[in-house]
């Protein structure tokens, strides 16, 4: 019973980490084909925004909201200054966002130094048999699934969602029908940035606060989006579920390093034998 609970906890924890790492990247890539190499720095911005405002005395949830808000503003400025000029140019977007990534991480190093005092992990932990579980990480599992549900309603059921889906499919026709495509892109980019900021805000209490902290999410984010395939909205959940279970399984029998190697090996196999990713598999099945 305890063992079963432990397995479920470990798997869900790994899946929610993959989901939260990837979600902002998936929205920006899935909607606008912008490969955002500055994704890690968006996460860093959210984390620092949270820590700085928490140190100023804000309660943690409020500080997290500030972290998200700062990242949205950051994303908005970048979209206005740089990103909007490179829509439809995926390779240029790689170079541009990589440059942004370098500038931002070095700026953080200059402004805040090599590290700042982090936050304590909120909530406590509880004991079950031989295992101890962090309550906060269990909360994170629920939050990640809640975010997915909210995103589903935002993109499938709301006014903005209809405009956004039309814009992804046929931007030129959408504009000829009166859709303000530019505005849809700006809002979507800000949503993606805000989600990345939220990831940083949610995980920073469990991490040390250094300028390169976003890098911890980058591998998970990119492998999830790559294996999700051409439609990250459809493929992300199965991709994260598969990769998370696989990684946890191997970690469980060996140890974490082998687990990570196994994860990357699985990704290579998926790209080799399932080039259109999980979303391609789902679409074929329909």
């Amino acid at each position: 019973m305890v063992l079963l609970f432990n397995i479920i906890f470990q798997v869900s924890d790994a899946i929610s980490f993959l989901l939260l790492s990837a979600i902002g990247l998936a929205v920006i890539f899935g909607m606008m084909r912008i490969i955002n190499l500055a994704h890690g720095e968006f996460i860093t911005v959210g984390a620092y925004g949270t820590v700085v405002t928490a140190k100023m005395g804000l309660p943690l949830p409020m500080a997290m909201a500030c972290g998200v808000l700062v990242t949205i503003i950051f994303g908005f400025i970048l979209e206005r200054l740089i990103i909007r000029y490179i829509y439809g140019r995926p390779l240029d977007s790689v170079v541009a966002t990589w440059g942004i990534s370098l500038i931002v991480s070095q700026s953080f190093l200059i402004i805040f130094g090599p590290s700042i005092e982090g936050l304590k992990s909120p909530l406590g932990s509880f004991q079950m048999g031989d295992y101890s579980f962090s309550e906060y990480r269990i909360l994170l599992i629920f939050i990640s699934f809640l975010i997915l549900v909210l995103l589903y309603f935002l993109f499938m059921k709301s006014r903005f969602g209809t405009l956004a889906r039309a814009t992804i499919e046929k931007p030129i026709t959408s504009s000829a029908l009166g859709v303000d495509v530019q505005k849809v892109y700006t809002i979507t980019f800000c949503i993606g940035a805000g989600l990345a900021g939220l990831t940083g805000a949610l995980y920073i209490p469990t991490m040390t606060c250094v300028p390169s902290l976003g890098q911890a999410f980058i591998v998970s984010a990119f492998v999830s989006v790559v294996t999700a395939g051409a439609s990250p909205f459809i493929g992300l959940v199965p991709a994260a579920a598969f990769l998370g279970s696989f990684q946890t399984g191997i970690t469980f029998f060996y140890h974490a390093t082998i687990g990570l190697i196994g994860l990357l090996f699985a990704v290579i196999m998926i790209i080799r034998f399932l080039p259109s990713g999980f979303s391609g598999l789902i679409k074929k099945g329909k």
């Binding site: 006014r159 209809t162 405009l163 889906r165 039309a166 499919e169 046929k170 030129i172 026709t173 959408s174 504009s175 000829a176 029908l177 009166g178 859709v179 303000d180 495509v181 530019q182």
Partner: protein, 240 residues
Amino acid sequence: MGLNNILEIKNIISGYGTTNVINNISFGINESSILAISGRNGVGKSTLLKTIIGIVESKSGNIFFMNKNITKNRPTERSILGIGYVPQGRDIFNSLTVEENISLPAISRRMKNLKNELEKIYSVFPILKEKRNDLGGSLSGGQQQQLAIARSLIFNPKVLLLDEPSEGIQPSIVSSIAEKIHNIAIELKTAFVIVEQNISFISKLSCDCFIIDKGVISSKISSKDFSDVDKARKALSLEL
């Protein structure tokens, strides 16, 4: 030409990159009237419509819509002012339902009474009501054409630009679409600019027709010469 023209094109030159496709075209169209534009493949018919809606930028000349110069406006702004556009190949949103396809321009305009407007559209195109919850991509060619027209009618445009509405559609549906266009022009006072190569379709519209060749209007055929298909074929075959 004159103030009563709802849409007025003056000395438009446009094209792609350094190549000009439209070489100085001017015309005007009144409220409630229909204008057909015909010509061989690759003479610039579609480019002309794209220039009017703004997807292709004009290099010189002016476009007036309701006496407002819209030459510098983006496609989104032109659409919101009241120009509808049905592209060649229809460009239905495959991943949106039929109803979402029709509603899209209304949603982007935050139109009220969407339900009423939808009912009006469904009374003109009953087949779309039947299929309202199906995905746009699952419709047949003729249904997609009706959907594309419905999608542009939802915001009551003053001018509707149609690019090859009869393309890939069986003849019986072609004539029903022509009939619907006629009724819409009269009832909703919508003006139509229709690019078309199908002679029997043009003759059913019984409207004036411009022939374009090498990016200029090479001749104008009056509606009288289209009173029956044979006459139309004769008039057009000299040009096509």
